[in-house]
């Protein structure tokens, strides 16, 4: 009868493991144990309590959990705005992942990804944009493709549409 309690017990200890390791040390730990060449790329964290005003540029992937105002320039790297991150800046990066708040225009050469609970107030320019359900976005998205227009079909009315007058239906189909 009491055996059931015992069988439940082993399930609890693994739950403590992630709680005991705050996010910043987790990011630092693998960097210390593995050589950087094996990681292939560096990742730098700006912690929750950090406030930066001005221009932020670099050549490493960056995660921001703090506040940044001004301009962020990481043209060849990935910028992650963490859940606690608050950005009031023009952002330029290779890819931008938003879990926190961004106010300002975001330009990415590869992708912008606004995750659930992420928020962007500003215009986005990137060839790929993903906005998750539950994310907030207010602005315009520019997803212009380079050189893709050459293959585009010519615009114009559908075949057989011999310019009906204003208010005149061209086709009418029922029960589609």
């Amino acid at each position: 009868m009491w055996k059931r309690d015992e069988s439940v017990k082993p399930a609890t200890p693994p739950a403590q493991t992630p709680a005991a390791t705050p996010s910043a040390p987790v990011a630092a730990a693998p960097a210390a144990s593995e050589p950087r060449t094996q990681l292939g790329r560096d990742n730098v964290n700006i912690g929750k309590s950090i406030i930066i005003k001005g221009e932020l540029s670099g050549s490493e992937d960056l995660t921001i959990e703090g506040h940044v105002e001004g301009r962020i320039d990481l043209k060849d790297n990935v910028l992650t705005i963490g859940p606690n991150g608050k950005i009031k800046a023009e952002v330029f990066a290779k890819a931008v992942v938003v879990l926190g708040e961004v106010t300002g225009n975001v330009t990415a050469s590869e992708k912008v990804d606004i995750r659930d609970n992420g928020s962007v107030d500003g215009d986005i320019a990137s060839p790929r944009v993903a906005i998750a359900e539950g994310a907030h976005f207010r602005g315009a998205v520019d997803m212009q493709r380079a050189g893709a227009k050459a293959q585009a079909k010519p615009a114009g009315p559908a075949p057989g549409s011999a310019a009906p007058g204003p208010g005149q239906p061209q086709t009418q189909k029922v029960g589609a």
Binding site: I114, P127, R128, V129, A130, I131, A132, E133, A135, H136, F137, R138, G139, A140, V141, D142, M143, Q144, R145, A148, K149, A152, K153, P154, A155, G156, P157, A158, S161, P164, G165, P166, G167, Q168, P169, Q170, T171, Q172, K173, V174, G175, A176
Partner: protein, 226 residues
């Protein structure tokens, strides 16, 4: 075992089993979210209208739907501006200033006249009374470029549900209708003639009566004559 069955029978006597009772953990005060997929005919035509344009500008009057941004961006390489008019309606309802909605909608859009290639109007006009609908339609006509197109959905049956619908593009021929709570219900459904009068500066390019009880209409602004 027999006890369980007899209990079920007992509850059966009390009344028919309601569909969805098993999911009763959801707060019943919240309007249920439904999601159904329907075919679309007008969307393909809308896409075809814009495929020749270079970096076209699309104005989306619905709420932000990530799938749609991705879809239109990948298919058209376009700029998309999302202007959630449903949120504007809700704001006016909350503030008790619905009578100011026509004036608000007339000056709502900051884009230059004749600068927009395509407008996704969805079914927002169904939620507006006549003066507000006319103000919005006039503003949209002004924004549209010559030869630009506007996609509108219009309910053909009066429905009392107080929900808006997010139209999620699944592919060129399928839309997923996802409802969410609204502060205003659909107004009386517009007749075909009423819709044409609203957009009197545009011509109806295509009109499809769908099984989803929606009329899909594609309007085009007449091209300038040289």
């Amino acid at each position: 075992m027999a006890d369980a069955r007899s209990l079920t029978d007992l509850f059966g006597i009390l009344g028919p089993r309601r569909v969805g009772d098993s999911a009763a953990t959801v707060d019943s005060s919240v309007t249920p979210v439904t999601e159904v997929s329907y075919p679309t005919q007008a969307l393909q035509k809308f896409l075809r209208c814009l495929q020749g344009a270079d970096n076209p500008l699309i104005l989306d009057l619905g709420p932000v739907v990530g799938n749609n941004v991705t879809f239109f961006g990948e298919h058209l390489g376009c700029r998309i501006r999302v202007e959630d008019v449903a949120a504007d309606i809700d704001q006016h309802v909350k503030a008790g200033k619905l009578e100011q909605l026509p004036e608000f909608l007339a000056g709502r859009f900051t884009q230059a006249p004749g600068s927009v290639d395509g407008i996704l109007c969805w079914d927002i006009l169904d939620y507006l009374d006549r003066p507000a609908a006319q103000a919005l339609a006039t503003a949209l006509c002004r924004l549209l470029k010559p030869d630009g197109c506007l996609l509108g959905l219009f309910s053909t049956a009066d429905t009392g549900g107080q929900v808006y619908t997010k139209y999620v593009v699944v592919d060129e021929s399928t839309l997923r209708y996802r409802t969410y709570p609204a502060l205003r219900q659909r107004q009386r459904s517009l007749l075909n003639g009423d819709i044409i009068k609203l957009f009197k500066d545009l011509r109806v390019s295509d009109s499809f009566l769908m099984k989803s009880k929606l009329r899909e209409m594609l309007f085009r602004k007449p091209a300038l004559r040289a």
